[in-house]
């Protein structure tokens, strides 16, 4: 399936989801749906570096928080200088640019590391950035920052509906980008890095350049997911924005869904995100990470290739064989970086 058609289909699905949410007449659907969609973007973004290239990033929360705090900084600047309000899509682009830039920098500093060393370096980056934010008074420092969300926005009415729609479109954009990468020359290059970096270089793949592209795209998407967050939550504080939830979920969701394809993070985020939202209203929000942990342990034992792998196994097709065959059947390097 060509990318424009894929995008059109998913825009249609997004329109249907939005229509159903409006038809439900319950605003909580938008609140809960926003969080699930936010995880779709985060886990898809994580998978571009972690799944496609095999570089495990523990710093997802930092990129997410950077997007959120870039919005806070702009909000503060606008409020203090009585400036025109910047539309949310522009804030998202700014958040993405800031996080993408940091992703590029992080990549440049750390991508000569591999395996556990790279993972620890990304964790260290998150700690460094959190310390910087905690000590940056302009964005509220350790006290946190309040963002006054407009009550309504035309033609959507409730502002939460607008944020939900924005995140829905961002999720569609993220999975389209992930799929496009997967089927492009870039995606082939990423897969060689995951399989064998030495052989990859020997085949002429510029591995460092590709890893920098991956960290930048991944970081930018995470930042874009974080940019609308201050308007959603209303009060932003470092301890929650840099929270373990984001780091753990953005890793666990692709692992549970399956990391070799764009559909894995989507399935994982929809399943886990929805379960967490249900648990929040029926049991307690404190059990969220417990659910993630239990599912992760279960999947590592029962289905190490995630749900996507399990489904293919059910249909008597091994996941990597499927990947190979699918590539042959439908892939063409659609984009050349």
């Amino acid at each position: 399936m060509r990318t424009p058609l894929f995008l059109l289909i998913w825009l249609g699905i997004a329109a249907a989801v939005f229509g159903l949410a409006v038809a439900s007449g319950n605003d909580y659907v938008f609140f809960a749906g926003y969080v699930v969609l936010q995880y779709v973007v985060l886990s898809t973004a994580w998978n571009i570096l972690g799944g496609y290239c095999g570089y495990v990033n523990f710093g997802s929360a930092a990129f997410f928080a950077l997007g959120a705090y870039s919005t806070v900084a702009i909000y503060k600047f606008i409020t203090e200088n009585d400036f025109y309000r910047i539309p949310m899509p522009v804030l998202i682009l700014i958040g993405g640019a800031v996080s993408g830039l940091v992703g590029f920098g992080m990549g440049y500093l750390t991508l000569r590391l591999r395996g556990a060393f790279f993972a620890i370096a990304t964790l260290a980056l998150a700690v460094v950035l959190q310390t910087l934010i905690v000590n940056w008074d302009y964005v509220g420092g350790s006290r946190g920052a309040y963002i006054v969300r407009p009550e309504e926005i035309a033609p959507f009415g409730n502002y939460i509906r607008y944020l939900f729609l924005i995140m829905l479109l961002l999720a569609v954009a993220a999975i389209t980008i992930a799929r496009l990468i997967e089927r492009s020359r870039l995606g082939y290059g990423f897969a060689t890095i995951r399989d064998d970096e030495l052989a990859s270089e020997a085949s002429g793949v510029p591995t460092l350049k590709l890893k920098l592209i991956a960290t930048t795209i991944s970081g930018a998407l995470m930042g874009m997911a974080g940019a609308p967050f201050p308007y959603y939550i209303g009060y932003l504080q470092p301890s929650s924005t840099f929270g373990l939830d984001y780091a753990v979920n953005s890793i666990a969701m692709p692992l549970i869904g399956g990391t070799t394809s764009w559909i894995g993070p989507l399935v994982g985020a929809l399943l886990l995100g929805s379960l967490q939202q249900i648990a929040t209203v029926t049991i307690s929000s404190a059990v969220n990470l417990l659910i993630v942990g239990c599912l992760l342990v279960g999947f590592v034992i029962v289905a190490p290739n995630g749900i996507v792998g399990l489904v293919h196994k059910y249909f008597q097709r091994k996941p990597d064989e499927f990947v190979g065959r699918r590539r042959v059947e439908t892939d063409s390097p659609e984009t050349v970086p």
């Binding site: 020359r185 082939y188 290059g189 897969a191 060689t192 995951r194 399989d195 064998d196 030495l198 052989a199 990859s200 270089e201 020997a202 085949s203 002429g204 793949v205 510029p206 591995t207 460092l208 070799t260 990597d320 064989e321 990947v323 190979g324 065959r325 590539r327 042959v328 063409s332 390097p333 050349v336």
Partner: protein
């Protein structure tokens, strides 16, 4: 003799206190069929790694096709026309055979400005797999291959980069006599098509039948360089292989 394609000058490499390569100098003209032999630990693979950019040499230099390679990343050396196969096959495990071949076509030929159409890439993959006798398994994963097929895949992937120089690092290790013949035929055919080949091998019958020139390394030093028959009669080489 034609102009040197690969020129190695006083190349040295140390790992801590261990001298892996000690002032190696070597000049290889285009079209050469060179055998590189030596006992285990003599520095053959280290030399290959230094030539290909996997390791960086501390002293000396490497020139390829008139260009200095020192400090150049491995992928850039591949773009210049230097290809290698690995001692232990390193296929891209999640990709089928056709995709394994596709990578150098997309990246190395692309970097040289040759942008092949999708159909041309498919055809080239099929041709290369046919040349090594793996066309029937083009949709299989590397894990389905036998040892000799894995070696052939390595060679096909190296050939896909359209190299000027191919370094085959123990491409026949662990193979039967007939399988060795298969690989030798492939290498000779490549050489006939103008590719310079360096063969690193322990199977002496294969080295002797393939090489027009033989270089012997012992403890990181080059102890002999010349025609295979003459080199094998060299007392120092005999000492290195058979002892005093």
């Amino acid at each position: 003799m034609s102009e040197a394609l690969l020129e190695i000058e006083n190349l040295s490499k140390r790992f801590g206190g261990f001298v892996a390569l000690d002032s190696i100098s070597l000049s290889i003209p285009a079209g050469e069929r060179l055998g590189l032999i030596g006992p285990n630990g003599s520095g053959k693979s280290t030399l290959v790694n230094c030539i290909c950019g996997t390791l960086h040499n501390e002293q000396g230099g490497v020139r390829f096709d008139g260009k200095k390679l020192d400090g150049l990343d491995a992928h850039r050396r591949t773009h210049l026309g230097l290809a290698r196969s690995f001692q232990l096959p390193r296929p891209f495990a999640s990709m089928n055979l056709a995709d394994n071949i596709r990578i150098p076509l997309l990246y190395t030929l692309g970097a040289r400005g040759t942008h092949l159409s999708k159909q041309a890439v498919e055809e080239r993959c099929a041709t290369l797999l046919h040349e090594v006798g793996l066309e029937a398994k083009s949709r299989h994963l590397p894990r389905d291959l036998t040892q000799v097929e894995m070696r052939k895949l390595e060679l096909a992937r190296a050939m896909a980069a359209e190299p000027k120089l191919l370094i085959a690092d123990e491409a026949m290790a662990g193979l039967t006599h007939s399988e060795v013949e298969d690989i030798l035929t492939l290498l000779v055919r490549l050489n006939d098509n103008g590719v310079t080949v360096i063969l690193i091998e322990h199977i002496m019958s294969a080295v002797m039948s393939f090489s027009r020139r033989l270089v012997v390394l012992v403890s990181g030093k080059k102890i002999a360089d010349g025609k295979p028959d003459e080199v094998m009669c060299d007392p120092e080489v005999e000492r290195a292989y058979l002892g005093q």
